[in-house]
Structure formats: C-alpha cells, structure tokens
Symmetry: C3
Subunit: 411 residues, 3 copies
C-alpha cells in the first residue's frame, strides 16, 4: 500500500504502540522458529504451493527440511502476488538480512543458512518480540494443557474448547478429559462438573479467555429449547455450559464463526478448511440475550458477514468485533471491514487485530499489514476530513491495538 | 471525507439542489426539536451509549431531560469515532453555535442552554428547513392517523402498513382499524374493504406513497398460491391486497426489506432490531411480475444485498433503488452501494437518499454525509475520467436528489 | 476512471498484450456487426431501455431496424450513467468515427449510416480484431453445432452443456441429441454414450473447454449419493457425467454459477435472468474433491460470492477464478473482486477477463474497462508500495490476460 507523508507519519506513530496480541497459536515452549522450515511450514505456504501445483510428497515427515524449503520456494513464483508472500518477504528482510527485491528458489540455501545461524541465538525469541514491539501474546490451549513451564504473563493462556463441543463423541477426547479432570464424562451433569474443573484450572493458571471456532450452520440454543433426543450430550448443551462458565468465571468468550472443517479432504495439513457464506449472526441472538454479563469477542470468517458483526456490536453491549480472521485477513477485506467498524461501532468495542500466528516471526509482518491499512483509513476517514487530529487518531489506534485488549481481557 | 477542489465544487453545487426527502419519521405537529433531549434521544445515541456501557436508567421517563443529556454526552467519548457522532457534531456546529473541535460531557450544559434558547424561536422550524435546503418531507403515518392540522404539501403523508400485515392478529390493531374505517375485520373480504377505505382517506389527504418494512424471511405470494390454512388472515394475503390497492390508487410502494424486530430484547427503545443477511430479492419475483403498474421503491438493510437491488432495478421496469437505510447508512457502505448503482441502474430509477429522521435537525447532517460521498463518486467515476462534465454531473445529482422523487411520487 | 501517469503507463503496456478471450457468444459465421442494430440489439441495451420505460414493441422482428435503433437511442438518456452506455460510447468513438461528448437520439441516423458504410467493408472483422488486439476467441457452442466452416484456431469451440443437464426432459432437446449422436436417449446409460460421442466430436473439432451455467441452488452430487427416484435422468447424474468426460478428455470445465432463468417473465429476450445471493461454493465441494484432474474455471454471478471463489481457488488446486461475469461486470465490482484475487489467489490460477460478447465490437470496450481497473490496482497495490516494479506488474497482467488462458486451455 502506498503511503503519503501523513499515512507514513501515522504508521510510524502506530508502530510505537506496544502490542498485546489477543489470539495466536504460539507454542510457549518453543515460540520462535528454529529453522526456515518452521516459517515455510506455515499452512499458508504449504497450501498455496499445493494449490499452485506442488504435490504433497515434500511435506512428508521424512523429507529433509532443507529440501522441503527448497521445494516450497520453487513454487513461490506462482503465488508471489499474494499477501502471504509479502509477509514472507517482510520476514526475510527484517529477520534474515535479505536485501533482494524478490525471494525465489535461488535464495533457498542462503536463507536457510541465515535462519539457522540467527535463530540459534539464545536471545532470538526476545529479539523477535522486541523488534515486533509485542508485549503479550494470547495462546490457544487444549483443555488438557498443563499450562506449566512458561511465563503466563507473557504468553497468556486461553482455553480452547472446540473438542468439548464438537468432538466429545470421540473416545480419545473423553479419555483426555478424564485424565485432565478425573471425571468420566457420560452425561451432561458429568460434563458440567468436568468443565467446571477446567475453568478452575485454567483461570488459576492465568487464562484470560475461553475460545472456540464454530461451523457456519451452528446455532447456540439453551438446553431447554432443544428437541428431545435419543441420548448423548448435544453440542448445543456443551456450548451453553461453556457460556455459563464464562459468566461465572468472568472470562470473555472468543467466538470464531464460520469455518467448515475438511472441505478439501486431500488438502495439506491445516489447508482443508473453507466456509459457507450462508450464515448469520442472528443464529447467536439467543446466546447474546441470555448472557449479558459475558463479553463475546466475535470473529467472522467471511468479509460478507462483517456488516452483521458491525451491527451486532453496535446494538448488543456484550458483543465486540474482533480482528480480521484467516480468509478475511488480506488487505482488500481488512480495509473494507475496518472502515465500516470505525464508522459504526463504539471504539471501545473493537479489538483491532490478532496475529493467529504459530511462530513469533509472523507477528511483525501481519501487524504491519494491519497497521499500514489502519494508518491509511485513519488518514482518509478521520484526519483529512477534520474529524480527528493526528494525535487523537493515534489514540484511536491505541484503543484498538492495546487499551481494549487490556480492559476486555483484564491483562 | 477529504475533499479536493473538484469534489468541493461539486459538493457546493449539489448543496444548491432543493431537497425532497422521500422518507422520514417526522411528526408534522412537532417537526423540529425543542430541547437537546429531542436530539440526543434519537435512538442512534441512546443505543450507542447503551452499547458502550450506559445502563437504561437515564432513559426512564421520570429522569430530568437535562440530566439524561449529560449522561449520554458522558458516554459519547466511547463512540466519538462513529458517523452518528459526526452528525451530532454537525448539528452542534450548524444549529447550536458550537465551535469546539469535539463535543464532550463538559459541553452538556452550554449546549443544553443554547438549544433551549434557539429552539424556542417561533420560526425555528422554518430556519432549520431553510438552512437544510429541504422543500418537502415525506412522513410515516399510522393507518389511523387523521392527517389533519398540518400542511400536507410540506409534510407529505405516507401510509405505513406494517400493522396491517404483521400485527393484524393483535386486538388493539383491529380496534384501531375498526375505529378508523368503521369495519370490524374478521376475514379477508372485510380487510379488503377496510384497506380500501384507508387508501381512499389517505390519497384524499395528500398521501403520495404506501410503505412497509419487512423481515428478511418474508416472501410475498399471491393468495391462490398459499397453502390452505386453519383460518385467519394470512400476512401474505394482507400484503398482496396492499399491492393491489397501490396499483388501483397509483401509489408507489416503498418496501424496506430485511429487518428482524426485537432481536436484542433488552435493548433501548428502537435499538433492538437487527437483520439476517440470508435473504434475497428473488423472494419478491412473483410480486414484481404480478404488479407491473406499481413502482416498488426498494430499500435493503444490508449492503451485501445491494447488488441484488442493483440488478433487480436494472432488469425490472417497476423496481427502483431507494436510499441507504439504517445499518447501511454509513459512509463505507453508502460509497460502495452508490458506486454500483450509478454504474448499473438507469439514473431515472434511483432515489438517492432519504433522511429517515425523527427531528428536522438531522436532515442537514445526514444529507451532507450523502452529498459529500456523491460529490466524490461523481468526481472519481464520472468527471475525472471524462464521462461527464461538471454541469452534467450536477444534473445527475439533481436527478437522484430531486427529479426522480418528484416524478415517481408525483409531488 | 481517472488515470494518473503511472496508471496510464501501465494501461498502455497492458494494452500491448495480445488477448485470448476465453468466453464469448460470438457466432463464428458472422462474428462482427453488420448494422447498428447488431450493436444496440445487445441485451444490455434492450433491457436497460425497457427497464427505463421503453415498451417491447420496437423489439419486434417486423420493426424496421433503423427505427428500432432510433427508439433505443431515444431512451439512452435514461441510462447514460451506466457502464454499458460507456461501452457504447467507446464503440461509437473507436469504430464509428463518433467525436461528440455524448450519444443521444439525435445521433441515430448519423451513426446508423456510418455503421452501415464501415461494417460493409470486407475486412471489417479483421480490422475490429486488430484494433482490439484479440488473437483468439472462445465460442459457446450448442452440443449439436457442426463446428464447421470457420477457423477453429481463431474461434475456439467450447461445448456448452446447459441443455444436457437442465433441459433434457424436453422432447426437442432429445431429438436434437438423437440427431447429433444417433442415440435415442432414454436412460443414464444411453446418455453416457451420447455425451461420449459429443466429447469426441467436439475435441476432434478443436474444442478446448466444456461449459455450463448453473442456478444458485444446484448442488452437484455423485450418482450413488442421490436419493432413489421414480425414474428419468437426474440433473445431478447428467452433470456428473460431464465432469467425468472432462476428466477423460482433459477438458477444463467452465462453471458459471448463480443464474436463475426467467425471473422477470415479461422481460426482453435475454433480459429476464437474475440471481439469489443465498448460494455457496460449498455446494461444489464434493465435485472438487471427486475430480482432482479436472480444472474447474469458476465464474460467480454475485460479487458477494467472490470471497468464496478467492478462498476456494486458494485451497483447491483444481479451482481457478475466472473473469467478472454479467451482473458483476461493472467497475465497482471488478475492482473489489480483482483486488482480493490478486492478494490471495496464486497468480497462475486466475483468468483475468472474458468478453461474454455476441459481436466482436464489444471486445475492445469491455477489455478496456477491465484493463483500466487492472492498471489502477497494479499501480496502487503493487507498484507504489514497492512490491512489484512496473515490468513485473505488466508480467502479472500478461499472466492473467494471456499466459494462464494458454496454459489452462492448451491453446
């Protein structure tokens, strides 16, 4: 995105705001990359390379990582138009000393060696965080994660609950749950006790949010309104319990709405999921009405649903618009969605952005992409028309990138 | 929105066009505000303040209005990023002599006093209309509105029919209908006679349109195609009669499509309604086919449906694209929707904008918001590429803001 | 669209790329217009004139063509704001020597005479193609088209299959099929043999694609998964066979998704079709999974579905995003949709644009519309932010406008 001098000034100021990243998939025991394979193993690169013609053999566990990286880079000229390629270029330049115009297959070994050397530094993690100006990062923890052995003030635990709602019929999930809670779950009453134990454990270990991703056709309903059934625990029942515990434990509930899993069944790992635009936040009306005390931080997968998110955040006091997720996390959609949110949602009810990253090195390029767009929208829609001065525009950015996260999640 | 010199020139010219506002909720017996409470009591402010954390106590009838205004203003710094805040700032500057950069809680008493003094002037209504360059304003009249005691050439009656279709099962609605028409409605034949009386009364009293708002799942169908039923008057039946009377009385029919009522059940007054993006104008195909003589002026609640509106107005001679409604009435959506309409719908089939206002003071900031966007779109999409000269661009604006309204509604 | 110097330079360079137009309705025996009636008889003009108030009498076969043209032009000032009007102006200027600012009814006879004189030139077809820089054009051939008497390297055959899936219950379609293949089709086995013959014939005669348009509620499913039925050949069964033959004959399958036929039943010829935004590419998941060897070139009718198209092209190796179709073929939607595709879909998996034209003269204004937008998006999103140099930006354009078409369709 082109930046004139006002946009550049705003961008520079916004970059000074220390970030709290409210959603990631960082492994706190190994947060930074150790090789270039950690970077290019991100599903965005494997799926784009596969989509552009790479078969899956290079992704097998027994392939030499350096060779895998060569193969992925060899396909990159098929997708060097994408935002994801631009993230990689940003990483190569910022963290790996790359100074070329484009990354191509010819750079594979140089980049591999640079990465190996640099990432081996004992303070690499700190360096990356410092360069990225990130202060805290929220995690995505399985319900049976022990949450031990890392600094939970830097890496903030978050109880991820997809398994408890959508995979509770799987024996291995019940076994993990039994092991974590000491409770053999076979009915709703048991499940309630087990979930209670999880919430206790997680909040005692610094968890600041509960989170779940939901398919487009899911409609949360209170248990009493569900049709009678042959038995078993219904998804809606489990979900409703989670909302009740969020209320009781005063945890915000992150709802990531709209993903269909395993649509492309032979896709690469984590590159199989898509969505169905035929979904509505109206499906959540009962939930939002029933839990006025719970803050629901909502992400939607399709930009088409952004107006519903804007309108629901504008009307429901307990609904917050959160980030730009996955398939909507490209500049064209971020810009459109952000403009509408800034024009219609109270500024205190917007979580600007989260990285969704698996490795720390992605924080910088992803937040940079967002901050560039934010700077331009603030310039065009607020500063130039005389609605806000530059200082106030940067305050608005701080609200989105830091203050709201601190207040909403109490960190 | 930033205006370069071409945009500013176009905006200035467009502001010279005397407006006919084809949809409002003005009370013609009390069109202008009398206090600041009338301004800040607009549901946009009460709902945004509530969404941002204000409880509903200040909104109770027994709260001193000046105190209510203070409380709402005290919450405004939570939503001073919104388009609605910008309207208020525009009102404060244009009508209340405010000269600050931002309105805050500290301005409550000064603004209150200024409003009290200024709005007490006997010619306040005329002043507001004059400053706003508004010539005529359409009303939204209940079916039992006597339509007397006001100038119907300035305040044009419009028969609002939601009650007749969606609340006819309520005894109080039937009683009001009996009182207004002398007919006790208990079947379709009675209803037809009663509605006939209403159309006669309304058109005799200067009504120029029939209007209704519709939920996203409503599908108008001719009575013969409806499934048989236990009895009672079906919504579709009542709706179809309205279309028949619009045809017989040559009234355009305003359809405001897409609102779900009472979604947030504990919301503030008029701040409870939302929408479901899963709706289609295809639901109206039978209606548009069956009534080629009726002009249907269509508003859609979600910007996502704008392309359907564009395409239907492009294909159906009796479909007109009308205004930018409610949740789509923010610059980001107006701009997107307007550009598509200007590129694909015959210019004679577009009603540019309506205020939807309850108090006259909102005409100016709302139309200004629209006119600024219109000026920019005309500059970027028509004048700069050499498609229209400036004079013709302003004529196109006049078509949207005045000529089409005059011709379509015969005012 | 306004073009600054960078955009203008890019546009000029992009215009040098010889085009291969991968979808049109050209009649190869009469590709160019012979009169102005051929131009203004395009459904865009008849339907816009009708939508803006023209009745259908001037469209009758027995009306003198010159008179019909006068009547359509007399209505043009009702839609001279549209993109379609801009195409006509471009044609009048480029091909008919028109030098005015606007075309009006007063120009009817002059333009008629100019067209008559110019189009009678024996090399008119070649001149138009040369001026338009178009090298090859794909056709839309009925299954019983003999495909003879024209140069199939210039006009590339494409098997259009709507009849075989959606109108196979019509006796006249079965008769045409029997005549073309020698097979009386009365069950699925027969149909399979008949379609096999068609694929053989078409590929032997230079066909490079199979194509079909599909209604928004269609969901392709494998035959074994269909519910049992009273008999007859199911649409899904016929469609699945086509995909199987595309696989066996290595033909890409163009899916044009989302059109409802005959929505406005009294509309002009080809001006009756609309769409329903409630549709999803998820409906095609089984198909995309079942035929990894078939390249599906997908067009969607509504811009709202573009994000699904972007995401499916990003994930599925066999899905390609293709062109900007019909109701989405206006600058406002092309720009939005194109930006998202360029940011998220591998560049090798995008077919930039096709003309969809019936007469050669429309190639130039339609591709120009696209190229102007492409030049601006490349400037704003790639060149100015330093992601691509100008030369590489033009290479990206060549990929979209030429290289991908050549590779995907093997021409």
């Amino acid at each position: 995105m082109f930046m004139d001098s006002l946009v550049r000034e705003l961008f520079t100021e916004i970059c000074q705001i220390p970030l709290i990243d409210p959603h990631s998939h960082i492994n706190p025991h190994r947060p930074a990359s150790r090789t270039l394979d950690d970077i290019l193993g991100y599903h965005y690169y494997t799926e784009l390379a596969h989509s552009a013609g790479m078969d899956q053999k290079p992704l097998a566990a027994d392939v030499e990582p350096r060779q895998r990286v060569r193969t992925i880079l060899a396909h990159m000229d098929h997708f060097d138009n994408t935002a994801q390629y631009a993230w990689f270029l940003d990483i190569a330049r910022t963290f790996l000393g790359f100074s070329g115009e484009r990354v191509t297959a010819a750079d594979a070994d140089t980049l591999w060696d640079a990465a190996e050397r640099l990432m081996a530094q004992p303070d690499w993690e700190d360096k990356v965080l410092h360069l990225s100006n990130i202060e805290k990062i929220f995690l995505t923890n399985d319900f049976d994660d022990p949450l031990e052995g890392f600094d939970t003030t830097r890496y903030v635990p978050c109880l991820r609950t997809d398994d408890l709602v959508f995979r509770l019929d799987k024996p291995e999930v019940r076994q993990r749950l039994a092991k974590a809670t000491g409770i053999e779950v076979d009915d709703a009453a048991n499940l309630r006790r087990a979930i209670g134990k999880l919430f206790e454990y997680f909040t005692r270990h610094g968890a600041k949010a509960c989170a779940i991703s939901l398919p487009p056709d899911f409609t949360p309903l209170p248990p009493f309104s569900l049709p009678p059934d042959r038995g078993g625990i219904k998804k809606e029942e489990a979900f409703w319990m989670l909302a009740e515990y969020c209320r009781d434990f005063r945890l915000p509930f992150d709802l990531m709405i709209g993903v269909n899993r395993r649509v492309y069944r032979n896709g690469v790992y984590q590159g199989q999921d898509l969505f169905d635009q035929r979904t509505s936040l109206l499906q959540y009306a009962e939930l939002f009405n029933a839990f006025p005390e719970v803050t629901f931080c909502i992400s939607v997968l399709s930009s088409g649903q952004n107006q519903e998110l804007v309108s629901h955040s504008w009307i429901f006091p307990n609904v917050v618009a959160s980030g730009h997720w996955w398939y909507s996390n490209i500049p064209a959609y971020i810009e459109t969605d952000l403009r509408a949110r800034l024009q219609a949602v109270p500024k205190t009810k917007q979580i600007g952005y989260y990285s969704d990253m698996y490795k720390l090195e992605f924080g910088l390029p992803k937040f940079n992409m967002y901050r560039r767009i934010l700077a331009r929208v603030l310039a065009d829609d607020f500063v130039r028309p005389g609605i806000l001065g530059e200082t106030r525009a940067v305050e608005l950015a701080r609200c989105l990138l830091r203050d709201n996260v601190k207040r909403i999640f109490q960190v």
